[in-house]
Each structure stands twice: as structure tokens, then as C-alpha cells.
Symmetry: C2
Subunit: 108 residues, 2 copies
């Protein structure tokens, strides 16, 4: 399957980070995380699942383990299975991050 | 691990598509495919492995199964396990594609 302009699939919410699905395979899942200024995805870890973040728009303060960096479009982070990671949008722009999970999360 | 400006890791070759690694986990692999104008990655399939393509720079004619589209920066394709897929750079610019494989290919 082919999806053009994936950033247009971002779904923002006023109360929390928004999530939307871009593509789902048997072994990999691609979704978008959408952050209004000030929103964050608090530190969490996934056992048995790697996550890749690629910033598409805006800038985000990304922490993986003990490393924290301000990422902008074209920057990537790998949160290996079991490692704490978090994302925060310091603003002033909206932040859209491509989040790739392998293996995929359970379908809802 | 965090990698800034991943597109800068692209490695172009005169004789064929160039490949480079961005990040490798236990469950996912991220690399770059770099195409000079006219270069292509011919139709192939991976059993038991999904591949995601995300165009970072330039434009590429991407085929997945019976679907062919001209993709530019921000467009994504999912080639599910076992499905034939190919990429060609029609030019005139260089093409850089983020290729994500799950599970990862064997380390060389």
C-alpha cells in the first residue's frame, strides 16, 4: 500500500497527544503521534518491541534512556525494546512524529 | 540512540543503488537507499519481513504489488512480506529513501 503526504493524517487532540495509523503489516506498524505545543508522551517502555521515531514537522524534545535531544524534521530516534523513552513538544509549532513499532501493537 | 539529519548518511554509488545503515534494533532496522538519476532497485520480495519506504529527498517511482506511484518527500509505501516491490529514480534529482525492515536483515 502507498500513502501520500502522511503528515496530513495527523490527528491533533486538545486533551492529549493524538494518534493515527498510517500502515500496518504483519511485522511492522507505522503511525503518527501529533502534539500540540506543551503536550508530551511521558516516559514509557515496551518489552519485546522496538520503536523508531522520525520527526516530520515541528520540533520535539526526545529522550531515549539517558540521552535527550531536541529533534526537528529529518531526525530519528531508536528506542530499543525495554528502554524508557518520551517525547515533548516545547512549541511554538505543532509537532508531528512518525512512530514505527516492530512487532506491531495489537489492533484495536 | 538518536541520529540527526539522517539524509546526510546517504551513500551514493556510481554503479548501483547505495545502502547505508541509520539504526539497528533487535526487532527493526532503518537504512537509507540512495539512487542517482536512472538507478533502480529491481522487483524483489522478502519472505517473513515487512518493508516500509519513506521518501526523504527527490522523487521515486515505487511499485508494490500491482500499484505504482511517483512518490516524493513525505510519501510512504508498505511492502508486506512476500509482496514484490521496486524503486526507480526517474530523475532529474538524486533520490534518498528511508527503508525500514522488520524483522531486521542479518548483520553483515
Amino acid at each position: 500500500m502507498i500513502v501520500k503526504r502522511i503528515v496530513d493524517l495527523a490527528e491533533f487532540r486538545t486533551d492529549a497527544m493524538g494518534k493515527s495509523t498510517v500502515a500496518r503489516g504483519e511485522f511492522v506498524y507505522a503511525g503518527l503521534n501529533a502534539f500540540e505545543p506543551g503536550q508530551e508522551h511521558k516516559a514509557h517502555a515496551h518489552e519485546g518491541q522496538d520503536k523508531l521515531y522520525l520527526v516530520l514537522e515541528g520540533s520535539g524534545e526526545v529522550t531515549v534512556g539517558d540521552q535527550t535531544e531536541l529533534l526537528t524534521a529529518g531526525d530519528l530516534a531508536l528506542a530499543p525494546a525495554g528502554i524508557l523513552h518520551s517525547v515533548r513538544n516545547p512549541g511554538p509549532a505543532r509537532l508531528v512524529v512518525l512512530a514505527i513499532l516492530a512487532p506491531p501493537p495489537r489492533a484495536k
